[in-house]
């Protein structure tokens, strides 16, 4: 005989990912490594900002390059002579904690101070997936249009630092970087916002300073 039973569960479906993310953070911390999740729009300058940081930081850095086809970005970081792990996400549109946990196994964490995780260029899918970094940095550029921030509020809500890049060409694409910064602040009053141009080296020192400050904080 069978009967119909109501089973109350109340289980967090993303819990599995959160648990692995916590474990990743613990592994980083056990090795005194600070992790930065660099999320943001496709082509907004994520890799360029990581390159600037790797060159300027007086710290031992490593990079996990996540992309649909990761080898292109990974080659750029390898050229700088830092340990780099390409993470091919294939059809997946975000990094999750599990795939990142395998990348951590391939990095010489004991001889690193900072790891940058370049997330897949996408302002939607990565939002709810904690990968185990200490801070999430969200990168957009003026070429996406100056309404890109207000169109994707959740990822700004879940980031601690925002970079609005390519301000050198703002006037040509008729975008207001200031508006984008205001939008980010309105969505998330706790977020710090920096306007940069990697091309023209505007505010790159401030970008590097933020990273140094944060590494000291953690």
């Amino acid at each position: 005989m069978h009967r119909v039973s109501d089973i109350s569960v109340e289980a967090d479906i993303i819990q599995a990912n959160k648990a692995i993310a916590e474990r990743n953070r613990k592994i980083l911390e056990d090795n005194n490594v600070v992790g930065f999740d660099i999320s943001g729009a496709i082509g907004s300058g994520k890799s360029s900002l990581i390159e600037e940081a790797v060159k300027a930081l007086d710290l031992r850095t490593g990079v996990v390059a996540g992309d649909v086809l990761a080898k292109f970005d990974a080659e750029r970081f390898k050229k700088l002579g830092v340990p780099t792990v390409p993470l091919n996400t294939g059809k997946e549109c975000h990094l999750d904690a599990h795939i990142v946990s395998h990348a951590l196994e391939e990095l010489p964490l004991e001889s690193l101070d900072v790891v940058f995780f370049e997330n897949v260029g996408n302002l939607i899918c990565p939002t709810d997936f904690d990968i185990g970094a200490h801070r999430r940095i969200i990168v957009v550029s003026v070429t996406e249009g100056d309404d890109i921030v207000e169109k994707h509020p959740m990822i700004f809500l879940k980031s601690q630092f925002a970079v609005i890049n390519k301000i050198d060409i703002a006037e040509f694409v008729e975008a207001s970087a200031e508006k984008m910064a205001e939008d980010a602040k309105r969505i998330n009053p706790h977020i710090d916002v920096l306007l940069t141009s990697v091309r023209k080296k505007v505010n790159i020192d401030a970008w590097v300073e933020y990273l140094i400050r944060t590494v000291k904080e953690i």
Binding site: V4, E92, C93
Partner: protein, 119 residues
């Protein structure tokens, strides 16, 4: 870009269901109820579709996936009033200050209705 992170969420859902059924002698599922925060980055139609692809076998053959939306909750950083909303709120409707995001991005497996075989 095809936003198919719903597939990984569907897999997690399947996993969570299987874990909840362990040792319960369930023959058939009738209804699964999940709750999705209104600000979770989940396309519920895609989630249903992905789940229907991966949930194979007799046990799922007559199952209904019931998706409930739950409003997000914000709290004013000055007057501390809490407001629930389907959309993101930036300013308090009482005093105009900034609002803090409290909840609304969760994806919860609430309950399972199932035919259970008595031992």
């Amino acid at each position: 870009m095809v936003a198919m992170h719903e597939m990984s969420l569907a897999l997690s859902l399947l996993d969570t269901i299987e874990k909840s059924l362990e040792g319960k002698n369930v023959k058939k599922l009738r209804e699964i109820t999940i709750e999705v925060g209104s600000l979770a980055m989940v396309n519920t139609e895609q989630l249903s579709f992905c789940f229907s692809i991966i949930a194979k076998g007799e046990i799922f053959s007559d199952m209904k996936l019931n998706i409930q939306k739950k409003k997000a909750v914000f709290r004013c950083i000055s007057c501390q009033k809490e407001v629930s909303s389907e959309e993101l709120l930036s300013n308090c409707s009482f005093c105009g200050s900034s609002m803090e995001f409290m909840s609304g991005d969760e994806l919860i497996l609430k309950r399972i209705k199932a035919e259970v075989e008595d031992a």
